[in-house]
């Protein structure tokens, strides 16, 4: 155990481990110190200066977030000089900030607005600097809007893009009064190495980075009597949405979410989990086929390891940074896009609705999904497969706009036909989940037996560790898969693109060897996605993760191949995994992009 340090804050004694900061010590005493540039996911910047406190004996105020405690330290967090300084700093930030709050997308959920309200900055007479600035507004990306006039230069986004996502698509540029957060050469977000993951959005304290919302488009579709509007909801949404309605993190609100969607007027409320199960069938088969081609046929063209392809942020990351590995990506579309392609084909046929009358909406924990839906490759139904992608946050906004008292809703069930799913699909929302789901099915296909883990819980692939490795020994396979006898299937899992980059670098340098690799662009997997409720933190993500696995445990079916609707769709429509129709509708290809 590390050494304990004794100090006082506002006269109250506290003792805390050495190397902790004044901010953490205050937290222990339930004393709130305001912060803006500080975020639990990120390294310390100490640049907004809102957290300054008085340290007795020091002539300057000190930033609580960046100052380590020492023995005998005396801190005042609410002295006159602290309060005046803090107020000044908030006023200064506001003077550079487009404070047209009522017209801001983040109105009501902005950390700067909250502080301004707390400190009652009602009559600041500092000069408004906004008209003097040449602020840029960039809405060319289908996922992210960057509005420099709302930026307070806390650099959370810069640190996020660098530390968590390795891309450094956003950086600080220029200096002095011209200093700003910028992409390369101030290009639109759409033209740079942005993965569209939206992590910058969920780490931004203000409205400088927000999702491009499609709320009005969806309302228009819902209001159009000629349109049949179907909606699919991703697994991570049901463990996050509650937070928007003051539930605790980790509350599972699946039934209420379905009820709310029905009340919003969607003609059919369906589940991305259905197509997640379908993904497992296709991707699992693809993996086994690749293994066969590589191990039995000795086909040199077959690329191993195979990478999962569910996370569109990860896909764009590979396209930019490891284009030589594009052939390692599973050709499977993501569950969202499989669903979309089927909604305007299979579903349209079964329900006898002309495809052109179907509006396909998805609710995702993700902003990269908006980009994905707009990719030119994603029109295999003959139409744009998914018309509008809403984030978890946008859905919450619509529920509030519709006057639905979410917390008092009766639980409801998904509609039939692409609404049924298994526990294997739910865990897609957590890092390691796709791997676990795939193993549950693939192992059983190969051996005819369930995976050798208690309660089907493949614990080695679970958890929040950045990079996880696991292997599973295949013994006594059924006849078709005899060649896999004794093969140790090596798997790896990474989440967050920084971890992904590390894993990829190790692979590239020959330091590791795998058969199957799952990568999710966001920390924790989709449950920590850029479309999820704000704030995010390691603790919040942990709660959501527990909820995901609880949801899985509570499902009557836990293995994708047991989903009756999956069995049905292969029988009636797709024929078999990797079959002709699957190829046309459920698989895709990738495009190399510039890294630099």
């Amino acid at each position: 155990m590390s050494k304990m340090i004794n100090l006082t804050i506002n006269g109250i004694a506290v003792s805390i481990e050495q190397s902790k900061t004044v901010l953490e010590a205050a937290e222990k005493l339930n004393i709130t110190i305001p912060v803006l540039c500080y975020h639990k996911d990120l390294c310390i910047a100490g640049n907004c200066r809102v957290c300054v406190v008085e340290q007795i004996g020091s002539q300057k105020l000190i930033p609580a977030c960046a100052t380590p405690v020492f023995e005998g330290m005396e801190i005042q967090t609410n002295s006159l000089v602290v309060r005046n300084s803090r107020k000044h700093i908030i006023e200064l930030l506001l003077s550079e900030h487009n404070a047209d709050c009522t017209k801001c997308y983040k109105n009501g959920s902005c950390e700067l607005q909250e502080l301004a309200s707390e400190y009652k900055i009602t009559n600041s007479d500092f000069i408004d600097l906004v008209p003097l600035k040449n602020y840029k507004y960039d809405d060319l990306s289908p996922s992210i809007i960057k509005d420099d006039s709302k930026c307070i230069r806390c650099q959370r986004c810069v640190r996020t893009c660098n530390e968590i996502q390795h891309l450094s698509a956003l950086e600080v540029a220029y200096k002095g009064d011209h200093m700003k957060i910028s992409t390369f050469a101030e290009k639109p977000m759409n033209d740079v190495v942005c993965s569209n993951c939206g992590q910058c959005i969920i780490h931004c304290p203000t409205g400088a980075l927000v999702e491009k919302n499609y709320i009005e488009e969806v309302w228009d579709a819902l209001g159009d009597p000629n349109k049949h509007v179907v909606v699919q909801t991703a697994p991570a949404v049901r463990v996050g949405l509650g937070e928007e309605f003051e539930s605790k993190s980790g509350d599972r609100v699946t039934g209420k979410m379905v009820a709310a969607l029905k009340r919003l007027g969607f003609d059919s409320v369906l589940d991305t989990d259905f197509s997640a199960d379908l993904t497992i069938m296709e991707e699992g088969t693809e993996l086994l086929t690749r293994l066969k081609q590589a191990l039995v046929d000795g086909d040199k063209k077959v690329q191993l390891p195979m990478f999962t392809s569910c996370s569109p942020g990860w896909i764009k990351f590979v396209e930019h940074t490891f284009p030589e590995y594009l052939n390692n990506l599973s050709t499977c579309k993501s569950p969202q896009q499989m669903f979309g392609a089927l909604a305007k084909t299979y579903y349209a046929q079964k329900r006898s609705i002309p495809a052109e009358n179907i509006v396909s909406v998805s609710v995702m924990p993700c902003t990269a999904k908006k980009f994905e839906a707009n990719r030119p490759e994603m029109r295999d139904s003959g139409y744009q497969d998914v018309d509008y992608v809403l984030t978890t946050r946008e859905l919450a906004i619509m529920i509030k706009q519709a006057g639905i008292e979410f917390n008092n809703l009766e639980q409801d069930n998904f509609d039939k036909l692409m609404g049924n799913s298994t526990g294997a699909a739910v865990i897609f929302g957590a890092t390691g989940g796709v791997m676990e789901a795939a193993l549950r099915t693939a192992y059983e296909i190969v051996t005819g037996r369930e995976v050798p883990f208690k309660n089907l819980e493949i614990l080695p692939v679970r958890g929040i560790e950045g990079i996880k490795e696991a292997s599973i020994l295949i013994e006594n396979p059924v006849d078709d898969w005899k060649f896999l006898d004794g093969v140790e299937l090596k798997c790896a899992i990474a989440h967050g693109l920084e971890n992904a980059h590390q894993l990829m670098t190790n692979l590239k340098n020959g330091k590791s060897e795998y058969h199957f690799v799952e990568i999710m662009a966001c920390p924790g997997g989709c449950l920590g996605g850029g479309g999820q409720p704000i704030p995010t933190s390691p603790e919040i993500r942990k709660k959501r993760m527990e909820a995901i696995y609880a949801e899985d445990g509570a499902m009557p079916l836990r293995k994708s191949h047991e989903n009756p609707e999956i069995v049905q769709i292969y029988k009636e429509f797709l024929d078999k995994p990797l079959g002709h129709k699957s190829h046309k509708l459920l698989h895709t290809h990738y495009t190399p992009r510039e890294r630099y």
């Binding site: 640049n47 200066r49 930033p63 005046n84 600080v172 200096k175 009064d177 011209h178 200093m179």
Partner: protein, 393 residues
């Protein structure tokens, strides 16, 4: 006349051709003794902040780590300061000797001179000197190499942690402190970073001993100091003077008789109005009769024809551009100060708005991340408080 003549000193620019002996001699002295000499001499950093040099060397020596660095801060960017260039032009070997001895004390084998981009023309000359010096080090049995690192036009890089960021190929943004460079410096390694002039003074101390240096100056302000004199004076230039003089003494020597105010310490320093000349001392911390101003040695004289509004506006414009921009009080504060005094001058804001700005500079002083952001308050407060009438429409 009864005028007190300032004691001019001729140590730094004295051409000492015995520097190989000084280097060899110093390398033979035990490390602790060198540290003691430095501490006893009372030498404090001549860049402006005034941290005791001996202590800095000692702390770096005590820091754990195999790789350590010695950096000579030649990013002389403070308006009104130009002494370091002359030292590097005339007596570069003194600086190099100081670096070598610091390297021995701290346990470093690699040194850098961070030279501001504006002085790029010095590079060929300095490289020649460095090459010569490397041979001497080898002869003296010291494993120590020096390299020039060029800046590219950023005032803030004179701040030591910003300078290190810059050397690491990044934006020159000051770091959070602690940790200090003596523990975590360039590339995360313990680093001694000294101003050019400080290193040149260490040569004097190594050559003549601590006493000779300590005998100069007063109380907490020991030794001599180079002053860069500019503005309304018939004799602008660089002068080595004993510390502890009053501004009055200085003005008597350097003004043509018409001196309205003196800016001590450059744009980040203080403006001293005529009425305070006699009670203001130039030196570190120690209070003599009146106030005492630490300085990097910039002395700018203003005669009665100068508008103090223009002077302040010029400084603030400088800070607004040269702030690194990362911390709120400095980035936005500087902009508010410039726009604010201009608005008052135009009559768009009432005179009382100056009081709001004065309070703002207090906040900047207390909360800015680095010394440079904190010191914007110095010139603002000393000018507005003493020449308020010139600020108003």
């Amino acid at each position: 006349m009864g005028k007190k003549q300032l004691r001019r000193v001729d140590l730094i620019f004295a051409n000492d051709d015995d520097y190989l002996q000084i280097l060899k001699k110093s390398l033979d002295i035990p490390t602790e003794e060198i540290i003691n000499e430095m501490i006893n001499s009372g030498l404090k950093g001549r860049g402006g902040a005034g941290f005791p040099t001996g202590l800095k060397w000692k702390l770096t020596g005590e820091s754990k780590g195999k790789q350590k660095y010695i950096i000579c801060n030649a990013d002389e960017g403070e308006p009104g300061t130009f002494k370091d260039r002359e030292i590097l032009t005339q007596v570069p070997y003194k600086v190099l000797t100081g670096m070598a001895v610091a390297a021995k004390v701290a346990g470093a084998t690699k040194g850098y001179i961070y030279l501001r981009g504006e002085y790029r023309f010095l590079v060929p000359l300095l490289n020649k000197e460095i090459e010569k010096f490397h041979v001497l080090c080898k002869d003296a049995g010291l494993d120590f190499k020096v390299e020039i690192f060029l800046g590219s036009g950023a005032y803030i890089c004179g701040e030591e942690s910003a300078l290190m960021e810059s050397m690491e190929g990044k934006r020159g943004e000051p770091r959070n402190k602690p940790p200090y460079p003596t523990e975590v410096g360039y590339m995360g390694k313990p680093t001694v970073i000294n101003n050019v002039e400080t290193l040149a003074h260490t040569f004097t101390i190594l050559k003549y001993g601590a006493k000779k240096f300590r005998d100069l100056g007063v109380q907490d302000s020991r030794g001599s100091k180079l002053f860069s004199v500019s503005g309304d004076t018939p004799i602008p230039g660089i002068y080595e003077l004993e510390l502890g003089m009053t501004v009055q003494d200085f003005v008597d020597d350097f003004s043509d008789g018409d001196c309205k105010a003196v800016q001590v310490g450059g744009a980040s320093g203080f403006l001293v109005p005529r009425k305070r000349f006699a009670e203001t001392n130039i030196g570190y911390q120690g209070k003599l009769t009146g106030i005492s101003l630490p300085t990097g040695g910039s002395m700018m004289l203003f005669n009665s024809s100068r508008s103090m509004f223009n002077v302040l506006d010029n400084y603030l414009d400088f800070f607004q551009e040269e702030s690194c921009g990362q911390c709120t009080p400095c980035r936005v504060g500087c902009q508010q100060l410039v726009k604010g005094i201009e608005a008052v001058k135009r009559g768009d804001k009432p005179a009382s708005y100056l009081d709001k700005l004065l309070k703002l500079t207090d906040t900047m002083k207390y909360t800015a991340k680095c010394g440079l952001g904190q010191s914007v308050a110095n010139s603002f407060q000393s000018i507005v408080e003493n020449f308020r009438e010139e600020m108003i429409y």
